[in-house]
Amino acid sequence: MTDTAPLSGLLSADPRVVTAGAALFADALSAQAAPVEQVDWRPPADGTETALARVMADPRRNEANAKAVERLLSATAQLVDVRPAHEVLGIEKGTFFHAGPPIAWDRTSGPLRGALIGGMLLEGLADTPEEAERLLEKGDGITLDPCHHHRTVGPMAGVVTPSMWMFELEDTEHGGRAWCSINEGLGKVLRYGAYSSEVIERLRFMSDVVGPLLGQAVRKHGAIDIKAIIAQMLQMGDEGHNRNRAGTLMFLREILPDLIELDVPSSQVAECVRFVSGNDHFFLNLDMPACKLATDAARDIPGSTMVVTMARNGTDFGIQTAGTGDTWFTGPAQLADGLFLGSYGPDDANPDIGDSAITETGGIGGFSMAAAPAIVRFVGGAVPDALATTRRMYEITLAESRAYQIPILEFRGAPTGIDVTKVVRTGILPQINTGMAGKVAGTGQVGAGLVTPPAECFAAAIEGLAQLAPPL
């Protein structure tokens, strides 16, 4: 079959047929011994068909998506420095970056409130949690701003304050930069909405010891290729969202000689190393900005239907697409389905929160679930579920990663680049692996599980894309 033959050789090739719709046509073809594959077709959500058709008809779509995919896949991610937020992001006291789409205090969820209260205490803006809450409520001199508006991502509540130290990553291919705070560990931590004195003390230790030491070590080492570590962690049982154990170890392996050689007391190095190696999720805050770099590289491509952000603030779930600029398409954040720590139960959990769904947006996390059989029980599933999940994600993505591969799927590239049209057509929602925060401010983590965005986000996005597409 050659492309120059009329109709690409349709009349000379043996027909190999896909059928979508009535089963009898597939049966008729099978009866004639023709190769046939039937689509398990289901109608898209009611009311989306007009917008969907208009977007599918957009002559820019294929080229725009090819460009978006190429930029996403070719982006690199080098850790180049670790610096304080006030220095690199120009964030001032009273300003708090947070996860998810924009939100005002009155609509914030418990964990985000808790993290903001902790941030006030950390920055010395209040002496007690009660005072912090009062000041936040009043709002004078307080600014809430999404991380995503500052090329930054934050897990769970994602609160960033001026004194926090940030990983600084660079995409050498497209020149992009992205930032993320340093991961605190599990349990009672700020990002899960806890703000007790142990939480604040740990944050101070991170700013005093961990951040500065890592910064010096990274500068001494030279750029560290985070993308290469992600590629390898997927082959070692991590999926990069809820399991980051191999990634953390490999990062530590990379940085350890330079840490040891720093001109600081060995006890400080030991404290720093103990902190990193004691936190299986340490690497999450490195793979998140790596994914942020990749999806940011694909922003602002008119006509592209690819998702470049999925993020939650604990109240709203918001997505952004390459073809719709900075517009957020939002819906209510959902409750995760999974397992609970200790005596916590479903009633204790807050709806989905965090910028960490950037990992799924970049093709890892829930999308690469099949790479992490060790974690599936932790989020309440079985190994076949993990395989099925990753396979299902190929239905809604534009590409397969060249760098990130799934060993158990015979090294198939991770499903990458969520296509709004495919989500709307199939009703298959992106699968996100996530932690669960307690809904009462100050609680901390209560569990982990699986969650999807609300379908409303994608219905709104297809409308937004349709409005920018040429009329039919």
């Binding site: 109709l7 719709g21 004639q32 077709w41 290469a228 397969e400």
Partner: protein
Amino acid sequence: MTDHVEVRRGAYRDSVSLMQVSRAVQDSPGVQVALVAMATELNLELLAGMGLTGPGDAGPNDLLIALRADDEAAVDAAVRAMEAALVALSAQRPGSGGFGDEAPARTTRTAAARIEANLAVISVPGRHAFTEAMDALDSGLSVMIFSDNVPVEQEILLKDAAADRNLLVMGPDCGTAALGGLGLGFANVVSPGRVGLVAASGTGAQELMCLLDAAGVGVSHCLGVGGRDLSSAVGGRSTRQALAALDADPGTDLIVVVSKPPAADVADEVRAFAEKLTTPVQFALLGQGRPDLTAVTEEAVRAVDGQVPTWPTWPSTEEQTPRAGALRGLFSGGTLCDEAMVLAASALGPIASNIPLRPEWALPDDLRAGGHVMIDFGDDRLTEGRPHPMIDPSLRLERLAQEAADASVGVVLMDVVLGYGAHEDPATGLAAAIRSARSTATAAGRDLAVVVSLCGTRSDPQGLDRQAATLLDAGASVFLSNAAAARHAVSLVRQEATA
């Protein structure tokens, strides 16, 4: 001797996979040494050991490709072998990937990749057809769209997108097509041969193919284009593509275009296009004052030096004579209905219909009228949210019972379409309904004549002769030629009684 060294930045692969790629490159003819590996220190040393120099700035996350071969051509071949091995490594192996069952494909794109498809048959509800068809075109597939109720502006977009991609859109509302010997949609089993069809009408194409088959003339391909393709709006977009493809097909000696008369401007354009082809094109444009499908078939048979046969009939064993009462046609095929109306109207005058020959003969929405009436049960408005009457005959059989109870009705004309896609045994259900209808009439002191136009071939899964015998047994007269069936039905209407 030619060296080739290249570095691909950030293209991480695991070492085991790359050893397989290296092996593929080494096996390429004329290759002396080859190394495809990540540019680690170790591998850069290996490279130096081979007497090759890598770029100084390559690092462990860059893919290093180095080879030495006899000449330029051998290098090119080796690089191609490497590309192929790299592609083969990762994905793109449809259906591949790990253990356990793979879930059914949810989109045309996914299903297409699994079998390397070249054609999609779309029969989803019309308002969703565009999206699925566009997905098929984006995946490099030609498309047959069975769905109706697709907006014309979407049809135009699809056909333009198809032309851009050197693909064909058959439809929307394309009921029948055949590629080589493979029937698509509603398709009769006909012998292979050298007549190619371009059909803007599904049942028109089926009738033509069945008659050709009965005459011993086979068909190469039948490319459906959809009922609107030759309208001014669509402008023959698919027809031109189909004509060009059949012209280039060495297996096609004669092309027949089956359609209702096109819009005048389009007709001129398509004729001019056809005249430039090397393969002769016969236009079978149906309508008042034009040859019927049977006459068109006979012309085609003669054009390929075939013998026009006596068209098969199975006359009723009971004598059918002219009687008082109106003619009612109950059709599943639009073109068959149209042809019957043209023939009947010239003898009997106005025929009320849901697809009327003249606007003033239109049936009201309840499809009720006195006098001669013919209904196309396959029309868009009667199939929305309901299976096609060739699949589900219930609506038509219900109407037959009503006609039987109507004292003003003397003759009922119906079509039965066989082949793949159609009901597995339409005659049995219809025969029972015919018996019941005739006994209803008899009980009321009338004689109801039933005439059937049977569109099928001896190779159809339902069996032409078996179906005919079943209908004959119920007291119907059966004709292979729709035109002959219509003429017979008209001949049974005593005209002075209905004037």
